[in-house]
C-alpha cells in the first residue's frame, strides 16, 4: 500500500508542481536598480529592463502568460531578448512559449537586406539539466512543449552575460531544489533571484525525483547567504527574490537557512538512532516552524519536507 501511495505521489508530482495556483492578477513591484518583481502568475517572475531591452527570469504558469506579457510591456516597450529559467517546474516555465514569442533575437553576419530579427522570439537560457528534464528521447512524451524549452544551455558551474549595462551571472546549484537550479545574480542592481531554492511561503520542496537533495539545498542557501551583503544596520543591501513569496534580504534568508539546517540536523540524528520515516514524522521535527512554514496543501507541507529530507539523508541500498 505504501508503495502504491508512493507511486501515486511520484506520478502526481508535475500536477503538484502546478498546485501553486496563480492569484489571477499580476502585481508589479520594483525590487531595486533595474529589476522588478511580478507576482501572481504562479512562481515569482523577475524582469530586468534597460536601454537594450528586457530580460525575464522565469515566466509563471502558462494560463497567465498573456497577463505576464502585458505586465512586462507596462515596464518597457523594448524588445524582450532573453528569458532565464531558474529550474524546470511548470509554475516557473509555463509561460516560456508565450513570452518567448513576444520577444526577439537579433542576428547579424553576412546577410543581405535588413534582417535583424531571427524570427524565433527571445532566447531561453537555463542550465543544461533543465533542458534534459523538459525534453524526452524520441518516441516519448516530453514534459514541456518544444517552444517552452531552453534554447541556450550551460554545462559549467556558471554562465555570465552583460545586458542593459549590467553584469549578470547564472550560477548552477547542483542537486538542491532540483538538479538544474540556477541563481541569477544582477550584479549592478544587487539582486539575486533564487528560484525555489528559497521561498518565503512554505518549507522548501526538495524534488528528489528531479535530482534535488537536502544537502544541495543547504549548500545553495549558504551560497546565497555568502553572496548577499546587507546594507545599513543589517538591512536591505543585496535584495533576494525568492521563487515564491516576498522580497527578502540577508536576515530573512538567514532565518530560513537556520531553519532548514536545524531540521536537517534533527532528522539526521533521528536516522542515526535508527528511527523510521514514520517515527520521525510522528516526532514532528518541524514543530517549531510549522506555524509559519507548513503549507496547507500542495507541496511545501511539513510532511513532504520531512519525508524528502529523510529519504535524501538515507543511504540508498
Amino acid at each position: 500500500m505504501k508503495r502504491l501511495a508512493a507511486g501515486i505521489f511520484l506520478i502526481c508530482l508535475p500536477v503538484i508542481a502546478l498546485a501553486r495556483q496563480p492569484s489571477g492578477e499580476i502585481q508589479t513591484l520594483k525590487v531595486q536598480g533595474n529589476v522588478y518583481l511580478l507576482t501572481g502568475a504562479g512562481g515569482n517572475i523577475a524582469v530586468q529592463v534597460g536601454d537594450a531591452g528586457v530580460l525575464v527570469v522565469d515566466t509563471g504558469v502558462a494560463e497567465m502568460s498573456d497577463k505576464v506579457v502585458a505586465a512586462i510591456r507596462k515596464l518597457s516597450d523594448k524588445p524582450i531578448q532573453y528569458l532565464i529559467n531558474t529550474h524546470m517546474h511548470p509554475d516557473h516555465t509555463g509561460g516560456n512559449d508565450a513570452v518567448r514569442k513576444a520577444g526577439l533575437t537579433y542576428v547579424g553576419a553576412n546577410i543581405t537586406g535588413n534582417l535583424t530579427d531571427a524570427g524565433v522570439g527571445a532566447q531561453i537560457y537555463a542550465h543544461d539539466n533543465v533542458l534534459k528534464r523538459m525534453s524526452a528521447p524520441t518516441g516519448r512524451q516530453a514534459s514541456a512543449s518544444f517552444g517552452s524549452s531552453p534554447t541556450e544551455t550551460y554545462l559549467s558551474n556558471r554562465k555570465q552575460m552583460f545586458f542593459n549595462s549590467e553584469p549578470i551571472e547564472m550560477i548552477h546549484q547542483p542537486a538542491a531544489h532540483t538538479d538544474g537550479d540556477s541563481l541569477v545574480f544582477f550584479r549592478r542592481s544587487d539582486v539575486v533571484v533564487t528560484g525555489d531554492i528559497y521561498v518565503t511561503t512554505s518549507y522548501p520542496f526538495i524534488d528528489l525525483e528531479r535530482g534535488g537533495s537536502i544537502q544541495g539545498e543547504v549548500d545553495a542557501l549558504n551560497n546565497i547567504l555568502e553572496m548577499a551583503i546587507p546594507g545599513y544596520q543589517d538591512e536591505g543591501g543585496t535584495y533576494i527574490v525568492p521563487g515564491h513569496g516576498r522580497i527578502s534580504d540577508r536576515p530573512d534568508l538567514l532565518e530560513y537557512r537556520d531553519m532548514v539546517t536545524i531540521i536537517r540536523d534533527r532528522i539526521q540524528a533521528a536516522i542515526k538512532k535508527g528511527m523510521t520515516v514514520e517515527q520521525v514524522k510522528a516526532a514532528r521535527p518541524t514543530k517549531d516552524y510549522d506555524g509559519r512554514y507548513n503549507a496547507k496543501s500542495g507541496f511545501g507541507t511539513a510532511e513532504m519536507f520531512v519525508e524528502a529530507v529523510y529519504k535524501s539523508l538515507t543511504p540508498k541500498k
Binding site: Q27, L29, L37, T39, T200, V218, D219, N222, L225, P230, Q233, D234, E235, G236, Y239, G245, R246, I247, S248, D249, R250, P251, D252, L254, E255, R257, D258, T261, I262, D265, R266, A269, A283, P285, K287, D288, Y289, D290, G291, R292
Partner: protein, 292 residues
C-alpha cells in the same frame, strides 16, 4: 432695510471671525493629539533584570506562546550569536523599546500647509530611524521587503497616538530564544503625561502566540542635550566552525531547561510559559505542586 443691515452685519462677523481663525501670519489649524517631540529615556528599573542583563534561559513564564514557539526557544543556543551573520541583528521594533536606549521624537510637516506627514523617531540602540506615517496612506503589499522597524501608520485617538505596524522581520519576543515570525503585527499606544510617556505594545502573531502579548514601558523627558548614542556594528568570526554550522539543541537536549525553575523553585511546566501562566488563576492550579 433691516435685512440689508443684517447681511452687512453677517458679512462683518464672518470677516472678523476669519481673521481671528487665521491668526497673525496665516492659517494655523489646531490638530488633534499632543506634541510628543523631544528626547526621551526609558525608566530602566521596570523589568530591569530582563531588560538589562537579559532573561534566564528557558524562562518563558507568563508569555502566551504556542507549542511551536516553545520548541523554537528550547532549540535556541546562545552560541548562535557568535555566527557573524547574526551578530549585528537589530532588535525588532516590537522589542527594541525594552532595551537601553534613548529616543528622539520629532514631527515631519509639509512645509507649505504644515499638515502632519509623519512622526519620526530615532532609537539610538542599533541607530534605527522609524517613520510613523500620519497622512492616511495605506500599508504596502506584503511582497515588499520586511524591515526591523516595519511599516507604521498612526492616528490620534484623543491625546493617544495609536500606531499599527506590519512588514516585520523575525525578531525577539524575549531575548532568550523566543522569537515572533515575520507575520506578526504590532499595535502601539504612546500616551504623554507631562514629562512622562507611557508606551504600550500589543503584539499579535498567529505563528508563535496564542493570544496578543501586551507590555507597557515608561519613558521620561530628558532636557539635557546629546542624549543619543551611536551603534556601529562590525561582525567578526569569533569561532571557526565548518561552513553553514547553526548552533542549536536537539529536542530534549537543552541543558538549561531546569535552571530558572530550580532557582526560583517553581515547576518547569510553569517556567515554560503559555497563556495560562500569565493569569492569576494559574496559581491555584500550581497549589500543591512541589518544585521539581
Amino acid at each position: 432695510m433691516c435685512c440689508r443691515y443684517g447681511v452687512i452685519s453677517l458679512g462683518l462677523f464672518i470677516m472678523v471671525g476669519s481673521a481671528f481663525a487665521q491668526g497673525p501670519g496665516g492659517y494655523n489649524p489646531i490638530g488633534p493629539g499632543v506634541d510628543l517631540a523631544g528626547n526621551w529615556g526609558p525608566v530602566m528599573h521596570e523589568d530591569a533584570h530582563e531588560r538589562g542583563p537579559g532573561p534566564e534561559l528557558a524562562n518563558y513564564l507568563g508569555l502566551p506562546i504556542t507549542d511551536g514557539a516553545r520548541s523554537y526557544g528550547l532549540a535556541w543556543d546562545a552560541s548562535r550569536f557568535t555566527i557573524p551573520e547574526h551578530q549585528c541583528e537589530v532588535h525588532i521594533v516590537s522589542y527594541i523599546y525594552r532595551g537601553p536606549y534613548n529616543l528622539r521624537i520629532w514631527e515631519e510637516r509639509d512645509p507649505v500647509s504644515q499638515k502632519l506627514i509623519a512622526i519620526k523617531q530615532y532609537i539610538d540602540n542599533y541607530q534605527q530611524t522609524r517613520t510613523i506615517w500620519m497622512d492616511g496612506r495605506d500599508h504596502p503589499p506584503d511582497a515588499v521587503l520586511h524591515t526591523w522597524m516595519g511599516f507604521s501608520t498612526g492616528k490620534w485617538e484623543g491625546n493617544i497616538l495609536s500606531v499599527y505596524t506590519t512588514h516585520l522581520k523575525w525578531g525577539w519576543i524575549r531575548r532568550n530564544g523566543l522569537r515572533h515570525s515575520d507575520q506578526a503585527t504590532l499595535v502601539e499606544h504612546f500616551i504623554r503625561h507631562g514629562d512622562h510617556l507611557t508606551h504600550t505594545t500589543v503584539l499579535t502573531d498567529p505563528a508563535t502566540l496564542t493570544e496578543p502579548l501586551i507590555k507597557t514601558s515608561d519613558l521620561v523627558l530628558r532636557l539635557q542635550n546629546g542624549q543619543t548614542w551611536l551603534y556601529p556594528c562590525e561582525p567578526v568570526v569569533e569561532i571557526v566552525r565548518p561552513r553553514g554550522t547553526v548552533p542549536h539543541y536537539l529536542p530534549g537536549e537543552n541543558p538549561f531547561i531546569h535552571e530558572f525553575a530550580d532557582l526560583y523553585k517553581i515547576p518547569v511546566e510553569a517556567a515554560l510559559g503559555g497563556a495560562e501562566t500569565a493569569y492569576p488563576e494559574y496559581q491555584s492550579k500550581l497549589k500543591g505542586t512541589a518544585a521539581k
